[in-house]
Amino acid sequence: MKRVRSLLCLLLIPVLLAACSSTPPPVTPALRQELAQHMLAARAAERQGRWLSAIAKWQSAQQTAQLLDDWAAQGTARLSQAQLQMRIEGYAAAAKLLVELQPNTLYPEEQQAMAALLRARLSLLGAGGDAALELARAEAYCRSHACSWQAAITNLHARLHLRAAEPVQALALAQDLAAHAELAPAERSHALRTAAEALLLLGRLAEARSSLLAALAIDRELAEPRWLQDDYRLLIRIAEAEGDTALATEARLRLGSLCAALPGAACAGS
C-alpha cells in the first residue's frame, strides 16, 4: 500500500509540474479591455455622483466602442450620457445624443426604445417633441418583449395625464405602480410623488401629504438632491393648500438649503 502511494506521488509530481507550465488562457484584445474599463469606471463614477467624470468616461467608452464597431456598447454609452446630461440639465446635449439613436437600426431595438423613453422625458421637461408619440414607441417594444423598465413607461404615462389635467387617470396609474413592493425604489418614489400631485389636484390633501412623505422617505434613502428639491416644492404646495404654515415654512427652509448647495432650474423662483 505504501509503495503504491509513493509511486502515485512520484507520478503526480511531473503531472503537477506540467500543469504549471500549461498554456495561459487567451488574452482579451487591448481595445476590448479598454472598453470594459471605461464602462466600469463610468458606472462607478455615476454611482458616486461624479456626473461630469461619468460623462467623460462614457465619451471615452463610446469612442472605443466605435473603434470596435460595437453598436450595442455605443448605444449604452450614448443612453448613459443622455441620462446624465439630463441630470445636470444639459437638455440640448441629451437631445443631440438621443437623436443619433433614433433612425439607426444598427443599435439594438431595446436601446432605440429606451432612447424613445428618454426623449419622452425630455419632451415632458419642455424640450420639444411629442412625448405621447415617443412613449408609444417605447411601449410598443415592451409589449412584444420582456421589459425590465416597464415601470418607467407607466410613470411617464401618469406624468403625461397630469400634464393634460387628468388627475384621475394619473392617480390610477401611479397608485397601481406604487403598490408593487418589488419595484425599483427610484420608480416607486416617482409613482408616489405623481400620486401625491394627482391627489392634490383632486383636493384629497391628507392623502397627498401622506403619499409625498412616503416618496420623500425613499428619496432620502436614495440620496438624490434634485428629487428632494422636487418633493419639497410639491410639499410647499400641499402645505399651503392645507393652510399648514408651519409645514410650508419648514419645507421652504429645507428647499432653500438644498438650493444653496445645488442651484439649478428646479430652484428658480423657490
Binding site: P14, W149, R193
Partner: protein, 324 residues
C-alpha cells in the same frame, strides 16, 4: 540498536541494490523528461541565430533579458561584454524560425514593462523590402530613455515657448510699450475732442447774446477751435492706422504664440507617433505611463486580499429612469 539485530537474510533486503538502482533510474528518467519538456517549451532546443548589438553603455542590459518582436518572445540576450573602445557588445540569440522578420534595417530598442517592470529588447521598424539579417549581423541599438531624459527633452521644447509668451505679456504690459501708449493716446485724444465739443456747444449757446465785435472775435476763436479739432481729427486719422497696426501686431504675436504652442504640442505628439519604434514604450507618452499605472492598480485590485476589501464592480447594463 535496531539495525544491528537485522540479518542480511531478512527477505526485505532481497534485491535491495536493484530496487534502489531502479528507483534512482526512474527518478532520473522523470527528471530528464521534465527537463526536456520544459526546455522544449522554452525553446531551448530550437535552432538559434546569433546577432550583435553595439551599445554606448550597458545600463539595463544583462544576459537573460527577453528579446521580443511584436510583443512575442523570440530570443534572449546571451552575452553582454565591455569592448576595447569602452562600448558594450551585446549578443542576442534569436530563434531561427523568427529571423525572417528580423530585417537588417530593424532597430533593437531597449524597453521596460511599465515603470517597475523588467527590461526587454524589442525588435522593430524593419522594412518589408529589406534583407533578412544574417548570422552575426549587427542591429542598430536604441537605448532606453530615462525619466530625466524625457524631462530634459520636454524642458527644451517648452522653455522657448514660455519665453515667447512671457515676452509677449511684457510687451503688452510695458507702460512705455506700443500697446499701452496707444491706448493712453487714444484716451487723451478722445478727452480733448470731448472738451473741444463742449467748448463749441457753450460758444454756440452764447452766440445770441453777443454784440457784432464780440461775435467776430468769438467766431475767430471758434475758427481756431475748429482748426484745433481738425488738427486732432487729422492726427487721429494719421495715428489710428499705426495704433491699429500695433494692436494687430500684438494680436498677431499672441496668435503666433498660440500657433507655436499648438505646433509644439503637435510636434510632441507627432514625435511620439512617428518615432514610436525608436522610443521605448515607457516614454511614448504620459498616457501610456498612466495606463500602465492604471493596469497595475487594476491588477492589484483584482488580487487577494485587496479584492475582498473593495466594493463589488458595478453592473454595466443601462436602466432608463423616468424621473426628471
Amino acid at each position: 540498536m535496531a539495525v544491528s539485530i537485522l540479518r542480511d537474510q531478512d527477505p526485505r533486503f532481497r534485491l535491495l541494490g536493484w530496487r534502489v538502482g531502479l528507483t534512482a533510474l526512474l527518478l532520473l528518467g522523470i527528471l530528464l523528461v521534465l527537463a526536456g519538456f520544459l526546455g522544449e517549451r522554452s525553446g531551448l532546443f530550437r535552432d538559434k541565430t546569433r546577432i550583435q548589438l553595439l551599445a554606448e553603455n550597458g545600463t539595463g542590459l544583462a544576459p537573460g533579458l527577453q528579446v521580443r518582436l511584436s510583443g512575442f518572445r523570440i530570443g534572449v540576450v546571451d552575452d553582454v561584454q565591455l569592448n576595447n573602445e569602452a562600448r558594450v557588445d551585446v549578443t542576442l540569440l534569436i530563434e531561427t524560425r523568427y529571423m525572417k522578420w528580423v530585417k537588417d534595417d530593424a532597430l533593437a530598442i531597449l524597453q521596460q514593462d511599465g515603470l517597475v517592470g523588467d527590461h526587454f529588447i524589442e525588435i522593430a521598424g524593419g522594412s518589408p523590402a529589406a534583407k533578412q539579417l544574417q548570422e552575426d549581423g549587427t542591429l542598430t541599438f536604441v537605448p532606453a530613455m530615462g525619466l530625466s531624459d524625457i524631462a530634459q527633452d520636454l524642458r527644451n521644447r517648452t522653455l522657448p515657448l514660455l519665453d515667447e509668451m512671457r515676452n509677449t505679456m511684457q510687451y503688452i504690459n510695458d507702460p512705455q510699450g506700443d500697446v499701452r501708449k496707444t491706448v493712453a493716446n487714444v484716451q487723451n485724444m478722445t478727452a480733448e475732442l470731448r472738451q473741444t465739443r463742449e467748448q463749441l456747444s457753450q460758444l454756440l449757446l452764447n452766440l445770441s447774446n453777443l454784440s457784432d465785435g464780440e461775435l467776430r472775435q468769438t467766431l475767430q476763436h471758434t475758427d481756431a477751435l475748429l482748426q484745433r479739432t481738425d488738427q486732432i481729427a487729422a492726427e487721429l486719422q494719421q495715428q489710428l492706422p499705426g495704433m491699429l497696426a500695433d494692436t494687430a501686431s500684438g494680436l498677431a504675436s499672441f496668435k503666433q504664440t498660440a500657433a507655436d504652442a499648438s505646433a509644439t504640442m503637435a510636434l510632441l505628439r507627432q514625435t511620439g507617433e512617428q518615432a514610436a519604434p525608436q522610443i521605448p514604450g515607457m516614454v511614448r507618452n504620459a498616457d501610456e505611463l498612466l495606463y500602465d499605472a492604471g493596469a497595475t492598480l487594476n491588477g492589484l485590485q483584482q488580487s487577494w486580499p485587496l479584492k475582498s476589501l473593495l466594493p463589488p464592480e458595478p453592473v454595466v447594463s443601462f436602466v432608463p429612469e423616468s424621473r426628471p
